[in-house]
Symmetry: C2
Amino acid sequence: MKTIGHIGEDALISRLLELVPTTHPALHTGPGDDCAVAEASRHEWQLLKTDAIVENVHFTAEASMRRVGWKAIARVISDIAAMGGRPQWFLVTIGMPKDYELEKIEQLYLGMADCLNKYGGVICGGESTRVSAEAGLVISIAATGMVKKRRLLLRSTAQRGDDIYVTGRLGGSLAGRHLDITPRLCEAHWLAAGRFATAMMDLSDGLAKDLPRLAGASGLGFCIDPARLPCHDNCSSEQALGDGEDYELLFTVNPRKTQRLAARWPEHFPDVPLACIGTMVASGEGMVLSGGWDHFR
Amino acid sequence: MKTIGHIGEDALISRLLELVPTTHPALHTGPGDDCAVAEASRHEWQLLKTDAIVENVHFTAEASMRRVGWKAIARVISDIAAMGGRPQWFLVTIGMPKDYELEKIEQLYLGMADCLNKYGGVICGGESTRVSAEAGLVISIAATGMVKKRRLLLRSTAQRGDDIYVTGRLGGSLAGRHLDITPRLCEAHWLAAGRFATAMMDLSDGLAKDLPRLAGASGLGFCIDPARLPCHDNCSSEQALGDGEDYELLFTVNPRKTQRLAARWPEHFPDVPLACIGTMVASGEGMVLSGGWDHFR
């Protein structure tokens, strides 16, 4: 019997998506980017995203539920931001064992409210269902966002020769930082408005997993200098590559704009490091990275 | 320690929704109806819905996964139909144990495709995550739909004196029929286009649970005649009231239109029974129903 553990997450998804309808004239970008992109009006795209976090996979039973609630919403806002968009409508699905403590669920919702009140977005509906006692809490968040058409940023539009940038610091998220994500909403809008980035995504599964995805979507390869990785304190470059759950922005910039970017970024975001870590190269050239997060390996 | 089992699903949801932002000028209807309703354009509303089904709660491990996939999508289309809308974009979240059989997940997706190909709708994205082996499969579907503004049907707009109708037959779904839902998409559009219904919803938790919700949303009471309930073969009126998972339409009609409805319905839907089961009355009058499906009781 072949199980999903045998083939891994990315192969599973592409195999399943061949079985279902995924294209439509009004769907600009379907599965494969941070969000789906659909026609909304003459000047705007609607972004659509779903994301789930599960007890004992993404957080422990001992975690502060208020921080878990924050994380659940912040992960989705990070994806919407990475496309250049603003969060709009949120649908919250909670699977809970029957004897789950009411106080903990209330803390979860207060954490979601903290994040929505800070970055925008409204809960317009939801679903609650029972799961088995052993399953623990399952939280699935679906959301929409809006982006002006000329500000949309995809994974698939990097150009050969572009420089590769990341915001913030990477690695070591499991020490606890993964619950205190800062979605890079302002930074992403500034990059989109200034037309700095040629392609962008957020780092959720680790640079070693996500950079090959951006490169693959753009039909390119990449070359990075591990010494230039902006590692968190006490983190190795290996951890910065593979730990995942950084929720920083990964983006590419035409070399003609890198000087202006380097000059203006610190004026706007003095507290957010910005690192140029490498260059996009032709497909088949450059390097191969392995590691990063896979749910089923 | 107070658990969610103590307070029940409806009380839990209203308590949680007080903690989070749920209102916005562009949000016509937030949590509480079959779908949320948000401004899309001058003439259209966007509908937003999320729904989940869980192994050992909504289906057994022995169920045909193709039928489970059909059910997962059909439940959401039923909600979109009940507002007068058409399905549009779908986001699919699957929580699976690591050793889950690949063949079963593929069957699940084929069942989703069956339903999407029949009723419309496209999968634009999704999420896969690991859950514990004991949890079994968790499937969460979020979707959007569109409805012309003049065709929107809510739960909250029934009028005192309206007649109460249900489509199809009720009860006994657990015998297996709950996996072969027929979303009443054509019927709902015909009712909306002909301006027959004053209020509408779909029956998911059983008439005993859902009719009080429609009446409550409309600020009214109701009176029904159990002898007029359209029961499935070998089902009592108690089962028709309480079993749930019927996915038929429940709607109210101004008495001036009931004659025209009774005359024209059989011409358009000769195979779908239509039953007038009672009348909307003032709040505090009429009857009280108990029973129906609650995930946490």
